[in-house]
């Protein structure tokens, strides 16, 4: 059995990364081209890793399910990216960003990883600016900063409401430059369906060509998984339609441990659902909470009244009331849970009663419409388009939706999973955000991993392991490809006769997950969820209906394969949530709350990472990585 060793360098926090970099073995420049590296996924982590490794001289193969690597879901990130530049001179430092991130994550992440993240954050900004990423600027020509998502300093860099797009295009272009140089070979419209292990080491992948349906084999000296999170387990989420956990889950089934699957972030500022036909929800950047004020009517009788008819005295600005220090800028989990409570009390507004107001009236009065338009123009435009209501005139209506998953494949300090040679970066790993991610930290982590960590740690692995070439004719490739082919054939044969569409079953899964494994969980509900998931999985494997053929473009077949994996991962999420008898970050168990209804963390018993080992018989085994805090004192998060 694999030993859960985080390979954390000894020595003071501030020197761990530097020290590790100095200890690492290097691959000679003339040898790098002999080493193939596979990068799966071309979001911020994948594109930046592929670009950097290609530039270093490795022979990189990059894969994405989209028709172009530029479309990875990082593109949709709106708000910004944190760094500790301290340009506004408001007292920011590496330590503060580190501390805020550890605390924001409710003390469920590794000190060493988080500190490294804060350390490299400034390099990311320098890198992006050098690439020509058009960040927001002040009139004098300096970069602009704003405070974001509960931070008490202005450390967030942004590009209007399209920061993810601009950073991704920067990384994408850097990668395309390596494509031009012949150092990166790009494979779009390919889905990784399995990991190939030779002697227990990751040596390649099996992909399906999403246009022709053909199976393809690719061998390499290391595999880097940058395939994003598993928010789509909930069906309705802010994640893209095609976002999925298939690559990560299939690696899990090949031996990579899955850590903290129950840590899911439910983002407070999304556009509420309007009907059952919906397949995804739209996020409104949380930067809106900098200027928007969240409220509901004090009186249940007022919920259907037009908001401007509700006088000031009859409005409950509940976040400002309950959390005077942070007000509308409390972390995401706190804001989400409180919105749910208000709606549960019958104070929710809008057609479904599942929404609260986010009001810009005061900000527009104080700062002027121009200023607000400059900051949030595109978000207001997007809201207007979707809802047909003008947020300059009427308050927005928002409701929480699944947005980000902090859990993911377990990785050590060098971002290697429990399978040697399999590295995991970005949202796909579990490493930096603990039980809750702070705003503007996802872009930072994706790029930190891809530009500044993976290129070195993969090199160290290649040098240290002295990996020998394998051919795709190796019997391990035959066997793995057969497994993938069998699964597809099985699905297609059931799919011919079945009666329920992929979307119908998928929607059912989403409902179970939102109801029982969502913002507020109970032991009983989680056990019930587990039973229902098992039942739904059986239904899938007996009655799913899949149109068309496997030997060509078939969106429903793609989705069916992903749903099959979500139907397994969801059960692990319920198990993990049920085992964690405490409330922390995005994981809130109703049995564990303070008298005031706040999360009750239980550090004595649960200060660990739960890393799950796959079991074919449905009885996964938990391995604990105890979290040691040498530099910070575990405090109760208080935003009052």
């Amino acid at each position: 059995m694999t030993k859960l060793d985080a390979r954390m360098p000894d020595g003071p926090l501030q020197q761990k990364w530097e020290q590790r970099l100095e200890e690492m073995k290097l691959v000679a420049p003339n040898n790098k081209k002999k080493h193939d590296v596979i990068v799966v996924g071309t979001g911020l982590a994948g594109a930046s890793a592929a670009a950097t490794m290609g530039e270093l001289g490795y022979s990189v193969k990059a894969f994405c399910i989209q028709d172009s690597p530029r479309r990875a879901h990082s593109i949709a990130a709106q708000g910004g990216i944190n760094a500790t530049k301290n340009y506004p001179n408001d007292g920011d430092s590496i330590w503060r960003l580190f501390y805020d991130t550890i605390k924001g994550g409710d003390f469920r992440s590794r000190e060493g990883n988080v500190y490294r993240l804060a350390q490299v954050s400034n390099h990311i900004i320098d890198q992006a600016v050098a690439q020509g990423v058009p960040f927001a600027r002040e009139y004098g020509g300096d970069l602009a900063n704003r405070s974001f998502g509960g931070a008490q300093v202005s450390r967030t860099f942004y590009a209007r409401g399209q920061t993810g797009q601009q950073l991704l295009l920067g990384a994408f272009q850097a990668m395309m430059r390596q494509v031009d140089r012949g150092k990166v070979k790009m494979y779009p419209r390919r889905e990784m369906l399995d990991l190939v292990l030779v002697d227990g080491v990751a040596r390649g992948i099996i992909t399906r060509n999403l246009v022709t349906g053909e199976m393809e084999r690719h061998a390499a000296d290391a595999v880097v998984l940058c395939t994003g999170g598993y928010g789509r387990t909930y069906f309705l989420s802010t994640n893209a339609f095609n976002s999925n956990a298939t690559a990560a889950w299939r690696c899990h089934k090949r031996g990579a441990y899955f850590a903290n699957p129950c840590y899911v972030q439910i983002h407070p500022t999304c556009i509420p659902q309007s009907g059952d036909y919906q397949s995804k929800l739209t996020l409104m950047s949380e930067s809106l909470r900098n200027d928007g004020r969240v409220w509901v009517p004090k009186d249940e009788a007022d919920v259907d009244k037009p908001p401007h008819q509700i006088p000031e005295s009859e409005r409950d600005y509940y976040l400002e009331r309950k959390y005077p220090a942070f007000g509308n800028l409390v972390p995401r989990d706190v804001a989400s849970r409180n919105a749910k409570y208000m709606c549960d009390k019958g104070l929710g507004v809008g057609a479904t009663g599942r929404a609260v107001y986010l009001d810009f009236r005061d900000a527009i009065e104080e700062q002027g419409r121009d200023v607000i338009e400059d900051k949030y123009g595109n978000l207001f435009h997007m809201y207007h388009k979707i809802t047909d209501e003008d947020p300059y005139e009427v308050p927005m209506r928002i409701y929480p939706a699944v947005h980000y998953t902090m859990g993911g494949l377990w990785v050590d300090y060098e971002l290697m999973s429990t399978i040697p040679g399999l590295f995991v970066a970005g949202e796909a790993n579990f490493s930096d955000h603990g039980a809750n991610r702070l705003g503007a930290s996802a872009l930072m982590q994706g790029l930190a991993d891809g530009y500044f960590v993976i290129p070195f740690t993969v090199g160290n692995f290649i040098a240290e392991y002295d990996v020998q070439k394998v051919s795709t004719d190796h019997k391990a490739f035959d066997a793995t490809e057969d497994d993938v082919q069998d699964q597809i054939e099985r699905m297609m044969s059931i799919g011919k006769e079945g009666s329920r569409t992929v979307i119908e079953i998928y929607r059912d899964l989403g409902k179970i997950m939102y109801d029982q494994v969502g913002m507020s969980r109970t032991k009983e509900g989680l056990e019930q969820a587990r039973e229902e998931i098992v039942g739904l999985r059986e239904e899938f494997w007996n009655d799913v209906k899949i149109p068309g053929r496997a030997d060509g473009y078939n969106k429903m077949l793609e989705l069916a394969g992903r749903l099959a994996d979500f139907l397994e991962l969801s059960e692990l999420m319920a198990i993990d949530a049920s085992e964690r008898d405490e409330s922390c970050g995005g994981h809130f168990r109703e049995e564990y709350q303070t008298d005031e209804g706040e999360a009750l963390r239980r550090d004595d018993e649960f200060c660990y990472v739960a890393a799950w080992e796959y079991d074919e018989d449905g009885d996964p085994k938990m391995h604990k990585e105890e979290l040691e805090f040498e530099n910070v004192e575990l405090s109760t998060r208080s935003y009052k």
Binding site: R137, F172, M176, A240, S274, I386, P455
Partner: protein, 253 residues
């Protein structure tokens, strides 16, 4: 909540593969909620087709919030439909009338071969970017980000060009199937910024030549590209590209 529903009649281009003959098929979508997006309407149509044992309409989409650039087809003769500054995924059924007939076709351009139904191959765009749509800097220590001052006006202008989502509507709308707006936007963004200046000559030459090699047509200043662009990217970007190209032809640096 009682809500008015609507019915629309669809004429959809169906084509099983790049080499096969395509044709229009007719469908009727009933009981639609006007707040549905256009793609959600197609989702509903597809669910019915699947239940009826037929092949669903293939179309690409991903973020469904207008930023990834994956979706896009021609609706009643207009790329992304008739609403300005909108991708198909952000187009809502309320902008149609009950009983309308709606014609849906894929992007039509020689350089964007049809893969299936409404799905086309836009790899040519990526090849244009890889010909020079970047600043040639490696990863590694860089000067402090604020050591390069860029005025807000310039930065905002560069952003306007950088907002392109690479959806291909500009090509689909152009009678010459020109990719000038797409290519011009990237050239303009990088030519405006000090970071992009050192290699602007090589960039514009390589990108324009790649665009031509891909079989895209020339720009003849019709302006349809700007009219359909979901990010409302200005045709000025094409003028800028042409100036950059001319400058490159006349200078050696």
């Amino acid at each position: 909540m009682a809500q008015q529903t609507m019915t629309v009649h669809l004429k959809v281009w169906r084509q099983s593969g790049s080499d096969s003959q395509g044709r229009f098929e007719q469908y009727t979508a009933e009981d639609l909620n006007p707040h549905m997006s256009f793609l959600e309407m197609l989702d509903v149509v597809n669910e019915d087709l699947i239940h009826a044992g037929e092949d669903p309409i293939a179309f690409d989409s991903d973020c469904r919030e207008g930023i990834c650039g994956t979706c896009g087809f021609v609706i009643n003769g207009q790329a992304h439909g008739s609403e300005r500054g909108t991708t198909v995924c952000q187009l809502h059924m309320r902008s149609f009338n009950d009983g309308d007939t709606i014609v849906i076709e894929p992007w039509r351009a020689r350089s964007f071969p049809v893969i299936k139904d409404l799905v086309v191959d836009r790899d040519a765009f990526d090849r244009i970017i890889s010909a020079g749509g970047y600043v040639s800097v490696g990863t590694g220590p860089k000067p402090d980000a604020n050591s390069i001052k860029i005025g807000k006006d310039v930065s905002d202008k560069a952003f306007d060009s950088a907002a392109c989502i690479g959806c291909g509507a500009c090509v689909a709308a152009c009678p010459n199937a020109s990719a000038s707006l797409f290519t011009g936007a990237k050239i303009t963004q990088l030519a405006l910024l000090p970071q992009g200046k050192p290699e602007r000559t090589r960039r514009v030459q390589r990108m324009v030549h790649q665009m031509e090699d891909e079989g895209f047509g020339n720009c003849s200043n019709i302006g349809e590209c700007e009219a359909v662009c979901p990010k409302e990217i200005s045709i000025d970007n094409i003028a800028k590209m042409k100036r950059e190209y001319l400058r490159a032809m006349l200078s050696d640096t």
